[in-house]
Symmetry: C2
Subunit: 260 residues, 2 copies
C-alpha cells in the first residue's frame, strides 16, 4: 500500500494511492483512520513530506564505498564503524518530492546528494531482538541527505552541513509492501545515471539498527530512520535535477536552486 501526505484546505491530509487515484483518509496511518470517500487525481494534489517525525534518526556511515570515498576526500584511512551508532537530522530541513533544494549563497562547491532508504516506524517499540525488529516498521520511503562537505569538515557538528532548510527531501510516499533484499537504488542527475547499488547492501541493516537502538530508547510511531548512502556524489549546482529511484518504492525528484 502507498500512503501519501498532501495539502488539503490549507492543512495536511493523508491518502492512499491506487494507480493514479488518491483516496483521502481522515486521521493518520499511525493512529485511528478511515477513508472519507473523497478521491483525487494523483497529479492534481500537492505532495508533502510523507511524515513529520517525533525523532529523525540517521544511520550515517553505512556503506563501504561511501566510507572509502569520504576517507579519500579527507585524506585519511577509511574506518568502518564497528557497531550501529545512530545519529540525528532535523525536521526544519524536510521538504517534499519536487520541492526545490536551496543552496545558500555562502555554501562551498561541494554540495552533494546522498540517496537513502528511509524506514518509517509504525508502532511504539522497546527491547526488540533483531528477529522482532522489523515488526515495528510501517513502511519505507526515500530520502536525500543533502550535505555540504566544507561545513561538514569545518563545523563541530553537522547542523548546517546537513540540516540547512530544504536539505532533507523525503518522499514521494510511504510504501508498506517492500522486499528489502530486492531493492536497487539508482541516482540520476539531469537524467544521467551517476550510481546504482543494491539498497540493502549495508554494514548494518534496518533490523540490526532497530534492535541496537531499542535497547536504550523507545521508538514511536512516525519516527524515521535514514539508512545511509553508497558511493560519492558529483558537486551539485543550481539547476541540477536529482532523481533518486528505489525499485519497488518510487522516485524522489528535486531540483537544486540558488538562494535568492
Amino acid at each position: 500500500m502507498r500512503w501519501i501526505r498532501f495539502e488539503r484546505e490549507g492543512g495536511a491530509c493523508y491518502g492512499i494511492v491506487n494507480d493514479n487515484t488518491v483516496e483521502e483518509v481522515a486521521g493518520s496511518p499511525f493512529g485511528e483512520h478511515g477513508k472519507t470517500g473523497k478521491r483525487f487525481a494523483l497529479e492534481e494534489v500537492k505532495l508533502l513530506a510523507p511524515v513529520i517525525p517525533p525523532t529523525f534518526y540517521a544511520a550515517g556511515l553505512n556503506y563501504e564505498e561511501h566510507i572509502r570515498s569520504v576517507a579519500a576526500a579527507a585524506g585519511t584511512d577509511p574506518r568502518l564503524p564497528e557497531k550501529p551508532d545512530v545519529g540525528y537530522r532535523a525536521v526544519n530541513a524536510l521538504i517534499a518530492h519536487e520541492e526545490p533544494i536551496i543552496i545558500p549563497r555562502d555554501a562551498g562547491e561541494k554540495v552533494h546528494y546522498e540517496a537513502e532508504l528511509v524506514a518509517v516506524i509504525g508502532k511504539q517499540a522497546k527491547h526488540l531482538s533483531e528477529d522482532q525488529a522489523l515488526s515495528c516498521v510501517f513502511g519505507y520511503t526515500i530520502g536525500n541527505d543533502v550535505s555540504e562537505r566544507g561545513w561538514q569538515a569545518s563545523d563541530r557538528t553537522l547542523w548546517r552541513a546537513k540540516n540547512t532548510d530544504t536539505w532533507k527531501p523525503m518522499g514521494p510516499w510511504i510504501e508498506t509492501d517492500v522486499d528489502l533484499d530486492a531493492l536497487r537504488t539508482t541516482v540520476r542527475v539531469n537524467g544521467e545515471t551517476t550510481i546504482e547499488f543494491s539498497t540493502n547492501n549495508m554494514l548494518f541493516g534496518v533490523a540490526r539498527f532497530i534492535s541496537a537502538m531499542t535497547r536504550y530508547l523507545t521508538l514511536y510511531p512516525g519516527d524515521i530512520l535514514w539508512m545511509g548512502t553508497e558511493g560519492a556524489s558529483p558537486d551539485m549546482k543550481a539547476g541540477d535535477v536529482c532523481e533518486i529511484e528505489i525499485s519497488g518504492i518510487g522516485t524522489l525528484k528535486n531540483t537544486f536552486q540558488a538562494e535568492a
Copy 2:
C-alpha cells in the same frame, strides 16, 4: 508568566501558574489559546515536560570550566569552540520534573548530570540579527542533559550517551519573564550543593546562537535550545536526587534509579 503542561483526562493540557493555583488553558502557548475557567491546586496536578519540540537543539560545549574538565578527563588539551555550532538531542528522552532517571544495567560508573538553561522558541524565525534574536524566544525552562561518559567516548555519536530514555529531564515549567544576566544556576545532589555558577556566563549566549542558526535554518514555535553546562558532575548512582535550580525560573528535581 509561568506555563506548565500537565496530565488531564489521559491527555496533555497547558496551564498558567499563579501562586500555587493552575488556571487551565485550552490550546497551547504557541498558538491560539484561552483560559477555560477551570482551576487546580499546583500540587495536585501531574507535571509533564513543558513542551514536546519539533526540533531539539543543544549548544553542547559552551562554558569554559566544563570544557577544561571534559578535556582533563579525556587527557587532551582543552579546545574552546570558535563559533556556535549547535547539536541535537532526542524527544524520546524527555521526562518531567520529579520523574525518575533510569540507569541501564550496562551503563558505566560515569553517569553525570549537566545543568542547563533552556530557551523555548515562541515564533517562527529566520535570518534574525543578534539584536533581534531574543524576539523569537517565548520563555525559559531548565534541562538536565544526563550523560554517560564511557559511551560518549566509545560511540561514534551521542545517541545512547545522551539520549537514552529518561535522560533529558526538563521543567518544571516555562517562565516568560527572565533577566538572563541575573540568573544563577545551583545544583544540589542529595541536598548538598555541588556547583553554583552565573547562568549567562556562556561562550556564546542565546542571542548569538539564534542569530547564527537562523542564517541557515528556520526555528519553529516549540523548538527548544539547551544552552550547555558549567563544571563537572560527580558520578551519579541509583537513589541520588539531583536538583537544578535557576534563580527566577524554578527547580528541576529528579531521582536516579537502577533499571529494573
